[in-house]
């Protein structure tokens, strides 16, 4: 009987430890594999932010797919930022650093991370070009 109790307690501790290890090491969201919470255009999102900014709050941390025209590409030392329709800022993941040109119409999938007040741009991280 005692052995059974020890075995049960051991199994319980092992399960808890395994779960904690899983939580501690759980991977980041795989943006490409996640169904977007919202499919929208850059214009639509900019308009939404202008009229009802509180609605965007509910989308924080969600994966969104945005289509629009690249109006600016800014290359940093460590990354590339793409601006869609002068109002959506997307930080591309490193493997996306191919040929990106201004004026190109693209679809980008990324995680919404808030509005940058300095340049009034809607910001995305971990972005991928879809087409």
């Amino acid at each position: 009987m005692k052995n059974k109790i020890f075995l049960l307690i051991g199994a319980l501790f092992f399960s808890i430890a395994t779960y904690c290890m899983y939580l501690y090491n759980k991977p980041h969201q795989e943006v490409l594999k996640i169904e977007p919470e919202l499919y929208t255009t850059a214009h639509g999102l900019i308009e939404k932010n202008g009229k009802t900014p509180e609605m965007l709050l509910a989308l924080l941390d969600e994966v969104i797919e945005v289509s629009g025209e690249i109006t600016m590409v800014e290359k940093g030392d460590e990354n590339i930022i793409v601006i869609l329709d002068n109002g959506i800022k997307c930080e591309l993941e490193k493997q996306q650093y191919g040929q990106i040109t201004e004026g190109e119409k693209v679809k980008i999938k990324g995680i919404y991370s808030g509005v940058d007040e300095l340049f009034n741009e809607i910001s995305f991280k971990r972005c991928y070009l879809i087409n």
Partner: protein, 185 residues
């Protein structure tokens, strides 16, 4: 809260209001490091927005807290939800000026320039003085590098006693930005 609004409005005015030479970047690098004997926590934000008003000797930063990237997803989650409450206080902002008589048209490195300003973080606005190295490059672009410490208690960031040994009271913040006349290079 009033201070926070004032700083936000001032930042917005700096962007829209001045016609003088205005260098800007969206690819500013801001990192922070908390290191104790038990754990090292490091995060990086490579999309910090920044504006440098050359004639006004004024510099502004706006780092969205959700844009900080951690090695571990759980750390990123805890940082946003339990410590900095980024849904409520989405950004860390700094607005500062320097008085040193340096020529930002002439290629040179100016070491330990004193920047005096205000930092708004986690709903608390406090004066902050930092040292920075400012380098003017021949093509007219400017780099800005600074390291300073932030005391978490000063910004009302509560660290639960259970993890107090794992998170340092002061975090080391590093800022490195490059303002190019032609950021698309």
């Amino acid at each position: 809260m009033k201070n926070l609004c004032a700083l936000s409005i001032t930042l917005a005015l700096f962007y829209t209001g001045y016609s003088q030479e205005k260098l800007k970047t969206r690819t500013g690098n801001v990192t922070f490091l908390s290191e104790t004997g038990l754990e090292k926590i490091y995060a990086e934000n490579d999309q910090t927005a920044s504006l440098f008003l050359v004639e006004k000797k004024t510099i502004a930063f706006n780092a969205l807290l959700k844009s900080f990237k951690f090695e571990k997803a759980l750390m990123e989650e805890h940082f946003n939800e339990k410590y900095v409450h980024s849904d409520k206080y989405p950004a860390a902002k700094f607005l500062g000026t320097f008085e040193e008589d340096i020529d930002l048209k002439k290629p040179e490195t100016y070491k330990d320039v004193t920047i005096k300003g205000e930092m708004d973080f986690h709903g608390v606005t406090l004066p902050l003085v930092v040292k920075a190295d400012i380098t003017v490059i021949e093509d007219g672009s400017i780099t800005f590098v600074s390291k300073f410490k932030l005391n978490l208690e000063d910004y009302k960031i509560d660290v639960p006693s259970l993890v107090r040994d794992k998170i340092s009271k002061e975090v080391l913040v590093s800022v490195a930005t490059s303002y190019s006349n032609n950021p698309t290079k």
